[in-house]
């Protein structure tokens, strides 16, 4: 019950309301402007300049937070975006004599384009290479500005004009602070909106396990580029803020060290936490101003703080809220209202979850998945040898075979994880071979993994919601500009996810993370996540492993009800009695070849199958001694 209690407390917490308020542009801008006005009231231009500096670092931190905190991409050359933004603004205002305010959107666009150019080739690589490539990118950009005569090479660009709007000049520290506050407020609102949007959720899934995210239907490459570009665009805003209050800019403003400082701010504040980044940026800038000693030892102190923080408090000063959707859990309240909802209670009679109507691809009982002469070779090893198999809609097909027979290899071929050497796989009239995993998930194929791959930092319900991503008909514009549409979508997805969790008997664990749950419950969440994508074909890779007899009985019931809805199930399982009980047909793989197909008990009596399991000399009982 503690999960429910915490859900209620989160529901009622003031901080959550504050967070929702900060997604409103008006709310966030008033927040920053009020702080600016208070500082202006104090009248010290010294502290106003410091405040502008805080805002510059905070803006950069928020931008890097999108890249690193939300999407988990280690960008170590973030200053490059800052530089491109500042230089674009400066070139337009100094060399071309544009108005400062017109230069901001151009700076954002140019930086975004740079993000695409560098992100597209590198973000498909292993994530750790990104760190080194982004350092390289940062150095290349700085070197380029350092040698480019048009922008004054190492001397830089000066004098930068004061921003001017309809003849009104922002030429004093208090006016510049006001302008900065408005820009920072906008950035806060947008970053908060991204964070709670369907895109923010998908980013967190990618951060936790990008392979699993791709397989459950999240277009990982596109979303990583999106994070990189949007984070870069915010860096451009920081560059524009910097250009607005500076007399000159030169390449020494954009060194690797700046990138490292921003990185430290994000890590200290808390990956993914907007408030944490704001707090850390304030500490980072203000503390050395108050304490001279800190100024001298700033780098050492902050380096050591980062080490201690990552080791002992990886969530940072203010941790990211794990489940921001608690506010929208009406069905959780409904489930919890009866005090009988305990872990021991068997799942109620599985009721089909109402899913948004999608025309089934094929009629009930027709061939849904067609595997045609698929061969998979790894070097000299033939893992699958000319395998053909059909799964009909509404049937449970048990796929069995000794360890190493090629079962998981076949699943990987179907789900696009590895393209087969030859052969074709079709779902209805859609060819799956050669398609990316997230597209295959969108076509209606969902799977679970033999070794459970849940998103470890996401709650159970957020794990399930990740599976719904590909059904979302929303885009970036909705995430940024239509919070109401996002919220409505969120309410729907939460409700569906709760219903799925309820159906699998784990509704009251909705807010727990996988680590807090039993092995069997983790398997159930994986099944719920797979079902969340509204699949036509469900592939389960040893779903009963680690379950006790009564849990297995529940599983059989659940799978039966799923199949009765017209979903085809391909079930890999070593538990032979379970396979016999549930399967309409069974197929046997041995050493990459299909050796038997038919009614489960007939197949298990087949001599070739017995030989495959027990060796050819012996005759034995077929009770699944795999």
């Amino acid at each position: 019950m503690s999960a429910l209690a915490s859900a209620h407390s989160m529901l009622n917490s003031g901080s959550l309301k504050a967070r929702m308020a900060m997604t409103s542009i008006l709310g966030a801008v008033s927040f920053t402007v009020i702080i600016a006005l208070i500082l202006m009231g104090l009248g010290s231009s010294y502290w106003m300049v410091i405040a502008i500096s805080v805002a510059t670092y905070a803006t950069m931190g928020l931008g890097l937070n999108v890249v690193l905190g939300y999407a988990g991409l280690l960008d170590m050359g973030y200053a490059a975006f800052f530089a491109i933004g500042a230089y674009t603004s400066a070139i337009l205002t100094v060399n071309l004599e544009w108005n400062y305010f017109l230069s901001i959107p151009i700076a954002i666009i140019v930086t975004g384009l740079a993000g695409i150019v560098i992100g597209y080739p590198t973000l498909r690589l292993r994530p750790d290479y990104l760190a080194i490539v982004t350092i390289g990118f940062g150095e290349v950009v700085r070197t380029a500005f350092n040698n480019w005569q048009y922008v004054g090479a190492s001397r830089g660009l000066y004098p930068l004009p004061n921003p001017e709007l309809f003849g009104f000049k922002f030429d004093t520290p208090d006016l510049q602070l006001l302008l900065t506050a408005v820009l920072l407020g906008l950035v806060i609102a947008f970053v908060n909106r991204l964070g709670i949007s369907h895109i923010g959720r998908a980013w967190r899934a990618i951060r936790d396990d990008d392979f699993a995210a791709e397989v459950v239907g999240i277009p990982t490459l596109r979303l990583k580029i999106g994070a990189y570009v949007m984070g870069g665009a915010i860096g451009a805003v920081a560059g524009a803020i910097f250009a607005s209050r500076s007399v000159a800019i030169d390449p020494s403003n954009f060194t690797l060290f700046v990138s490292v400082q921003i990185l430290m701010i994000v890590v200290l504040g808390g990956l993914g936490s907007v408030r944490g980044v704001l707090l850390a940026a304030t500490i980072f800038v203000v503390l050395p101003e108050i304490l001279r000693e800190v100024q001298e030892y700033r780098t050492l102190i902050f380096s050591l703080l980062v080490i201690v923080m990552v080791k002992y408090r990886p969530s940072g000063l203010i941790g990211e809220r794990v489940s921001p959707d608690a506010a929208a859990l009406p069905s959780l309240n409904a489930v919890g209202s009866g005090d009988t909802a305990t872990v021991a209670e068997p799942p109620g009679p599985p009721e089909p979850v109402e899913l948004p109507g999608k025309e089934p691809r094929v009629a009930r009982g027709e061939a849904l998945l067609r595997i045609e002469k698929v061969t998979q070779q790894f070097g000299g090893l033939t893992a699958l040898d000319d395998v053909s198999l059909t799964v009909r809609s509404g049937e449970v097909l048990g796929l069995i075979g000794p360890n190493g027979a090629g079962k998981t290899t076949l699943v990987n071929a179907i789900t696009g994880v590895r393209k087969p050497t030859s052969g074709e796989i079709w779902l209805g009239d859609e060819k799956l071979t050669g398609t990316k995993p997230h597209r295959i998930a969108k076509h209606g194929v969902a799977r679970t993994f033999q070794a459970i791959r849940l998103f470890p930092q996401l709650s159970a319900i957020d794990n399930v919601i990740a599976g719904e991503y590909q059904a979302a008909h929303l885009g970036v514009v909705d995430a940024l500009l239509r919070p109401r549409r996002e919220r409505r979508h969120q309410a729907e997805t939460v409700e569906r996810a709760m219903a799925l969790l309820d159906q699998l008997g784990i509704a009251d664990s909705a807010l727990r993370t996988p680590a807090e749950l039993s092995y069997a419950d983790r398997r159930r969440i994986e099944i719920a996540r797979a079902l969340a994508s509204d699949p036509e074909l469900l592939i389960l890779d040893e779903p009963a492993a680690g379950m006790n007899p009564s849990e297995k009985r529940d599983l059989v019931e659940i799978l039966r009800s799923i199949a009765d809805r017209g979903i085809g199930i391909l079930l890999i399982e070593h538990d032979m009695p379970l396979v016999t009980r549930i399967s309409d047909r069974a197929a046997v793989l041995d050493q990459g070849r299909m050796i038997a197909l038919g009614k489960p008990d007939a197949v298990l009596r087949d001599q070739r199958v017995i030989d495959a399991y027990l060796g050819s000399a012996s005759k034995g009982d077929d009770d699944g001694s795999a």
Binding site: V133, Y297, L300
Partner: protein, 299 residues
């Protein structure tokens, strides 16, 4: 023709330094698949320890060869101890949290720089002037610095030693097994924890050799010398094929020659941009590096 050959020789010298540091990267990466951003700064720390021994202790009164040998031995031991200490107290618990590991390693790099800056000052320090590092000899018609030959020769013998270690000794083979499959290696009775320490230790020893050698070669050392060196060495390891010992050497020499070439024929200020440009190009066209990586594919 002369300048081309001379550029080649100085490229091979710089490349030897890169290759030695790249070896350390590649061994650690091969096992734990993590980038230790502080590795380059171990070179810097080692250079300062060597300088301290030569400049501030009676060792400096000995003849050149024994004093360098003693300074190197002390520097190697101290650097290995520092590296193992960092592994034990800081890195070990983060090995399963790659993002945290890399961020922490980066912070360690900057902390090391700051500590050295505090202890030895922000200005450069000078190694004693050895005649060998300025003497030039005539080799096949071109004049080369004798020290170039020493660096290239020493690096080459260390690399051959590493190849032998990885391919012929039991520990080396265990490391390669570990690079392919952690779990299987563990089941075969391989002590993963100890091997990680061996990789860190060897990497640190090679970094220390590089540090002292570059002090003797360039004479000037500073607290900022390590970080960029480390990044370029990692680039070299990736270009050659990460996890691949031979690849680290080829990559290191290649990056060194590229750098010397750009500096000699184009412009000094652009050389870093060229190196990282090469990295991006290699990763795009041949992500497994020139010689192919030895790290098992993970899903």
């Amino acid at each position: 023709m002369d300048t081309l050959l001379q550029t080649l020789v100085s490229g091979l010298t710089v490349g030897s330094f890169y290759a030695l540091v790249a070896l350390g990267y590649t061994m650690v990466y091969g096992i734990v698949r993590l980038i230790n951003f502080a590795h380059g700064d171990l070179v810097m720390v080692a250079a300062f320890i060597g300088w301290f021994v030569l400049d501030r202790t009676p060792v400096g009164d000995l003849p050149p060869v024994p004093q360098i040998a003693i300074a190197a031995a002390i520097s190697i031991s101290a650097t290995v101890l520092i590296s193992l200490g960092l592994l034990k107290f800081i890195y070990r618990s983060l090995i399963n949290y790659p993002l945290g590991f890399m961020i922490v390693a980066l912070s360690v790099a900057f902390a090391l720089q700051e500590i050295i800056k505090r202890v030895f000052g922000a200005g450069d320090r000078a190694y004693p002037p050895y005649t060998i590092s300025t003497e030039s000899i005539d080799l096949l018609g071109i004049t080369v610095n004798r020290m170039d030959l020493v660096v290239i020769g020493l690096a080459a013998s260390l690399m051959i030693g590493m190849l032998y270690f990885v391919n012929r000794t039991q520990t080396g083979m265990a490391m390669r097994a570990l690079a392919v499959d952690h779990d299987a290696a563990r089941l075969m009775g391989i002590n993963v924890k100890a091997l990680i320490a061996v990789a860190f230790g060897i990497g640190a020893a090679l970094a220390a050799v590089t540090g002292v050698l570059s002090g003797v070669y360039y004479q000037r050392i500073g607290f900022e010398m390590g970080f960029m060196l480390g990044l370029k060495a990692f680039t070299a390891a990736v270009v050659g094929g990460i996890g691949n010992v031979a690849g680290a050497m080829v990559g290191g020499l290649l990056i060194g020659v590229l750098e010397a070439g750009v500096q000699g024929y184009l412009s000094g200020t652009w050389s870093d941009a060229f190196i990282f440009g090469t990295l991006i190009l290699v990763l795009y066209l041949r992500p497994r590096g020139l010689l192919g990586e030895r790290v098992a594919e993970s899903t």
